[in-house]
């Protein structure tokens, strides 16, 4: 029986082993993240069926949950960690050849650490442990953003770090306040005792945590770092940041709000915040000329929609949110990866430099189009299934408040369609400029085509057969919604 702890332990070990491997063989070192993630993916997938029935609880040092630090590999956690591993794996493969400059050894270590952090966040059952993994994720992403050491990267990294550090501090204050109130750090334990303690202190701690995690989750006023960081980082990093890292922040918020506090009073506010985030993100994305910045703002928009769906507090809504996390993760990773080599090819991040790319890089362009269509929520791609689920959930609630919000939010989808289809037009229907310097190193190698192609295939496949993922969504939603069950599973009887 494999234990979920392997999902964290093995990559962590491999991460620190990487420099040593590098001593032996530099080329072998490049494969370490991929190996780690492959392992994670296999383990997560093998655990998933079991976790769908009941969460797998891992107790450290054999102590009972309230006292020990424990992992709760529930359906949601394992589903997300599989997603993390999958995207991590594909991006790692991509990164084998993509990363050409800078300190390669550190990239591999930091990259693995980032994913370990993300995996830890979704698997842990302990609030402080959540914070620790969160910091692992954050610190490695600060470093990765600035990894290239160029002006923009360093500036973005610096700004990201300042905001992130303040956010982390807020989280820590929140945890401290909560601990001071209930005297425990196990989420299940807190959850069981939160009901008895009411009042402002609890809420203020929640506010601190939302504000803190919100920075990483890119909620509306807190997301200023994101476009800078995503656009300045190497494309592979942008892909994981967008596909994985911000989702971890959102997961943390959801977990705290639903499981730990059961705070349903704040949900309408979160829904409004989500819609505002969606609109602001899409509006800003529309006005961009820099392709990566555009994708980054589009991520903000999608995060807003996910947050909105999470705030619905219905099983379908949360299924939709999780589904959108998956579909957005796949699509946005695909977009960033495809963009990476296009930028290498043209040496420019301007959208207009993509003219005629459909001819020069047909496979990349095709995959990009698939990803863009999926993000817009066009059938038969996976984005449609997820957005459809969300809309269905909203109308299922029958609440005028949510339906109005959704109607406003759908305007964001229209804007999204406008700018993505404009890019598709640039790719396919604008003639390539004459006398474009053909950069041979811009040709996408197999290590780039395989992950990109695989992502595209996944998007279409899941889009056509949403049942593949759909089975896991219900339990994942229950995992978040059903506090009593969660407490019961973790604490035992």
């Amino acid at each position: 029986m494999v234990s979920p702890i392997l999902l964290i332990a093995v990559p962590l070990a491999l991460a620190f082993l990487t420099p040593m491997v590098g001593l032996a063989s530099k080329s072998a070192r490049r494969y370490m993240p991929a190996i780690a993630m492959l392992f994670n993916f296999i383990v997560a997938m093998s655990l998933l069926p079991k976790a769908l029935e009941a969460p797998i609880i891992v107790r450290t040092a054999g102590w009972a949950p309230p006292l020990s630090i424990h992992l709760v590999a529930g359906p949601l956690g394992l589903l997300l960690s599989s997603l993390v591993a999958l995207i991590g794996l594909l991006v790692a493969i991509y990164g084998i050849d993509y990363i050409r400059e800078g300190a390669r050894a550190r990239y591999d270590v930091l990259y693995t650490l980032l994913l370990v952090g993300a995996t830890g966040v979704v698997l842990t059952g302990d609030l402080f442990n959540l914070f620790v993994f969160f910091e692992v994720l954050c610190i490695s992403s600060y470093a990765l953003v600035a990894y290239r050491g160029d002006s923009a990267g360093v500036e973005a990294g610096m700004k990201y770090l300042i905001q992130g550090a303040i956010g982390s501090s807020l989280v820590l204050i929140g945890i401290g306040l909560l601990y001071g109130t209930v005297g425990t750090l196990s989420m299940a334990d807190i959850a069981s005792s939160v009901g008895s303690v009411a009042g402002s202190r609890l809420f203020i701690s929640l506010a601190f945590m939302i504000a803190g995690f919100g920075v990483e989750a890119a909620i509306f006023p807190l997301n200023a770092w994101l476009p800078d960081a995503h656009s300045s980082a190497p494309s592979s990093i942008s892909a994981v940041l967008s596909g994985v890292a911000i989702k971890a922040g959102l997961y943390a918020i959801a977990r705290v709000v639903y499981t730990v506090y059961g705070a349903s009073s704040i949900l309408p506010f979160l829904a409004v915040l989500g819609v505002v985030t969606l609109l602001v993100g899409e509006m800003c994305a529309f006005a961009q000329e820099d392709i990566k910045r555009l994708l980054a703002f589009s991520s903000i928009g999608q995060m807003g929609l996910i947050l909105f769906a999470l705030a619905l507090s219905s099983a379908t809504g949360i299924s939709g949110a999780v589904f959108l996390i998956i579909s957005h993760g796949l699509a946005k990773a695909l977009l960033f990866l495809a963009t990476g080599y296009m930028i290498y090819r043209t040496g420019s991040r301007d959208i207009s430099s993509l003219a005629g790319m459909g001819k020069r890089m047909p496979i990349m362009s095709l995959c990009f189009t698939v990803g863009a269509f999926s993000l817009m929520g066009l059938p038969p791609f996976v984005g449609f299934a997820s957005k459809f689920t969300i809309v269905r959930a909203v109308l299922g609630t029958g609440s005028t408040f949510f339906i109005t919000l959704l109607a406003i939010g759908l305007i964001g989808t229209v804007i999204e369609g406008a700018y993505f289809l404009r890019i598709v037009q640039w790719l396919y229907f604008k003639p390539a400029p004459e006398a474009m310097p053909e950069q041979t190193e811009g040709r996408a190698p197999l290590t780039a085509l395989v992950p990109v192609g695989l992502l595209a295939v996944l998007i279409v496949t899941i889009g056509l057969l949403p049942g593949i993922v759909g089975r896991a969504l219900g339990p994942a939603a229950d995992d978040l919604l059903d506090r009593a069950a969660y407490i019961q599973h973790v604490m035992g009887d």
Partner: protein, 617 residues
Amino acid sequence: MSAQGILITAFAGAGLSYALGLTSARLREVFAIVVSVLLVCLIAITHGQGAEHVYYPDFLGLDLVLRMDALAWFFAITVSMVGCLSVIFSLHYVRGKEKENFYYFALLLVNAAMLGIVLSGDLLSFFIFWEIMSWAAFLLISYKRGRALDAGLKYVIMSILGSCAMLLALLYLYANYNTLVISDLAQQIRSAAGGFPLWVMLAFALGFGIKCALIPLHTWLPDAHSEAPSPFSAVLSGILIKMGIYGFILVMYGVVGLKLLLEVGAPWLHFHTVLCWLGAITILIPTFIALLQDDAKRLLAWSSIGQIGYIMLAIGVATSLGLAGALFHTLNHAVFKALLFLAVGAVEYKTGGVRDLNRLGGLIRRMPVTFACALIGGLGLIGVPLTSGFVSKWLIYKTLITEGHPFLALAALVGTWGAILYVYKLLHNMFLGQLPEKYANLEAAPFSMQLPLMICGFIIVLFGILPGIPLSVIGGIVGTLGFEPVTATLTGFGPQIGPLNTLNLCAAFAGVLLVIVAFRGIAARPKPVSQDDSYAAGAAAPAGKYHHTVRFYDPLERMTGGYLRDWVDQFYLSAAGKAKGVFNGVRRIYTGDVRTYVMYIVALLTFLIFAHTAGWL
């Protein structure tokens, strides 16, 4: 052959044609034609079948259903037929141009998606196919680059907006009736008591109205139709916008049902009445705008909007004759608008992309077949007796007059007279008059371009003389949608519906024609003269352009041109410009100064705490 087989053939055909195109261009062309013809045959043999079956159980918890009934069959055969003709026409049209593979793939995909729409038995698969159609059409509209790109974007943005509205509406239905299968839905809605929410109908109307270019949702159409490649313009105008019509009929009569529909809306202003008046406006304004166009395809595009007005008017009036007229006119418009677009496409193809009505002329001498077919199409569009357009318009007028809507009938009739003007302008400026010297040696369009034209022309005349053939199908459909069935004889209608006998008319016309020709034969045969031998007050006619085309309806243009600008489009464009400004303004919140960002964090935190103390949260 089940609906499922048809769809598999259609979608697989699209994919395979792309794959085949990678190996051989010729193979792909043959294959594309085979698939399209096969589809027509497959659909034709399913005539009269009624079936409904689940083809995809449990898609996101919903069963996807395919359905074959009279209505679906009627639209499916129209779609496949026009699709097939446009594929045949495309053979020469796109040969040698770039991205042929993509072109065929997208064209077949659009056709397949449209088949999917009409064969869908539930609203979810309807929506899915609808979206596939929308984006595939977007790709094809953008195909010609240049201004086509803006046209494509305009189309797709409006289309997405419509889809969002539709999605809301159909999921509202799901939330309330817990099913999206059309037959179940109809059952449940009809048995449910109470009114039907207006906003659901409005949301559906927004979605369908955008697609079928109902004023004021029409602004994408003139751009898209004129900038798309001509065979696809035929598809766009012939059948793609008819999907909106299909949606209206399906939702209004197939789902909501006649009885309930008549109650939707305020007691003094019913939903269907509003639709009627919108239809009337949609007839009038675009018809007059079409008069003033100089681009052949733009003229036809505006005319398409005008004709959609007739169909909407007939649907909205909610009578059995009206619905029959709407369905028949849908078929007719598909055929003759496809014909006209293809004819313009043939001219465009031969003259190297000239669509400007002021630069053409005299092509009847070089392309007589194309002209003859275009003439038939034009006459059909006007609704001249002995063309199919006459019978459908007759039905519409008849129901409007007998139901007591003379003002609506006036709009429809005036629209017809407008149609005469723009059809004449189109035919005259392209085919009649003096042949420019540079086209003196133009060859006729290749046979693959003429064949679709001839088929369309034949259908128009056939259905014009024997309208009973399509009306027997349409009468049955009207019956299934909760109306009194329309009984037509082979050649028209009996006295209970109204006297109309097209065969008598045809015979009389033919007889008179024969007599006149015989009478004419008494005189000497005329002496053919060259086009330069024309009366010019004794001078020799100049060799350059001599006949009158530029600003053909100048007096009217001077009188009404000021009022006939597309205000709606201007409004949308200015709104889009404003929105762009707003978007640009919104992103200024990301100032680049990290301290502002920190302030945002603190502000949110403070707000949360403040809101809590204030008791909001």
